[in-house]
Symmetry: C2
Subunit: 248 residues, 2 copies
């Protein structure tokens, strides 16, 4: 079925637009330095951006010398905003449902995706398409919500005996849809385990190179005391996987 | 500091001896089929077993044709038991503290460790020694308690609104010692994140090949209804890592 497109609902879109990462771009995304550290050289690179949102990364890649950036999103509102604030000659913004992406084969050096893949129901299919779209030795660099974060049937915190809080984890091995509340709307995500994610990468013929759980730095916590709870459970999982030089 | 050696405390040793995995050996360990699937061919292999316990795996490897098995444990009681029930000509049982292992270099095709590495305080040091001990293309196959399982400061479950239960996760990014209660004793474990484990493997020059979270099968749950809770959070993490053919 087509991907949920909650970003085209006006109230949600407005609420999303008030988030730090929407206003400040990459500088407002706490995990960005860790994700950036996984990127290959961008000068001359052909880049595919899956779930481009406002286009902050597409613009970053273009400014860093990327030859071309094909930036895709399911939301027309997102793309309108991206075209208005992050237009660059090297970027082509295109409306696409990630459940039914159609991209040229062997045409990209980097496939990038920031916090979008957990909205995709059929991730194995998408990863196969990404593998096809990459040139040999091309890489996929992505962030997703951590499986520990997507697992719970009713996400939330419990109080602990020592006056702290604990993330209530259940349903971990029950892979499938999760309906949660975010920015005042019901959001549909798709939970998969770490094992399931890695199996899907391997089945697509992509070799995992790096796997990293974002954690707030001491500086992050000093500036944003409310992030201290993010030390109690991993929220974002970042990874890099490479298409081998010779077909597997 | 030397590793905790709780297994030489009589009450704990007796309680451990009543566990299914102690009595039935590998067949009594639910995660064994998944771990076995990660093993390289054992015929002719030189095997190092880190934390061998009763010697069930050492005997399995010897019976599968391993050329030699050096099986190490910190507990004299464990080793006495292993020598009495799992003696084989190919096996040498040796008392060793995993915090201060001394093994010949380039001498093993397989380093194996079942549920022991989470007791090791200085895992990076041990992994460097394992990498030194492996011959080129040799592998480390290991199971550990999952980081989600070792993280909490006070491990336990909370009741959920839908009448189920949730694992109370906190302290995930606070790597270090955890004192928990098990089999009536206080056990000292060392929590590290998934990211931390993978970084230690990489720093030791070992390439991660597989990463797998044990989950009970439907058959497991039918036979042991109390394992159903293990579907709510991952308990064991299994992995295989390889020493490259050429030094890195």
């Amino acid at each position: 079925m087509p991907a949920q497109n909650i970003y085209d609902e006006p109230d949600f879109f407005d609420a999303y637009g008030r988030m730090r990462r929407s206003i400040e771009g990459l500088a407002g995304a706490a995990e960005w330095p860790d994700l950036r550290a996984m990127l290959p050289p961008l000068a001359g690179a052909r880049v595919l951006d899956l779930g481009c949102g406002y286009g902050w990364f597409a613009a970053y890649a273009a400014d860093a010398g990327a030859a071309t950036v094909l930036a895709m999103d399911v939301s027309e509102r997102m793309l309108d905003k991206a075209r208005s604030i992050n237009a660059r000659p090297a970027i082509r913004y295109e409306r696409t449902d990630l459940e039914a992406v159609s991209v040229p084969q062997g045409a990209f050096d980097l496939a990038f995706s920031s916090l979008a893949l957990h909205y995709v129901e059929d991730l194995p299919r998408l990863l196969h398409k990404v593998a096809d779209a990459l040139a040999p030795a091309g890489v996929l660099v992505a962030s997703i919500e951590h499986p520990i974060y997507t697992a719970p049937r009713r996400p939330g915190w419990a109080s602990t005996a020592d006056g702290g809080q604990a993330w209530m984890l259940d349903g971990y091995f029950d892979e499938g849809p999760r309906r949660t509340s975010w920015l005042g709307a019901e959001v549909l995500k798709h939970h998969r385990t770490l094992t399931g994610l890695l199996a899907s990468l391997a089945e697509a013929g992509l070799d995992l190179e790096r796997l990293h759980e974002y954690r707030p730095t001491a500086e992050d916590v000093a500036q944003h005391p409310e992030w201290e709870m993010e030390l109690d459970r991993p929220m974002f999982l970042l990874f890099r996987a490479r298409k081998p030089l010779s077909p597997v």
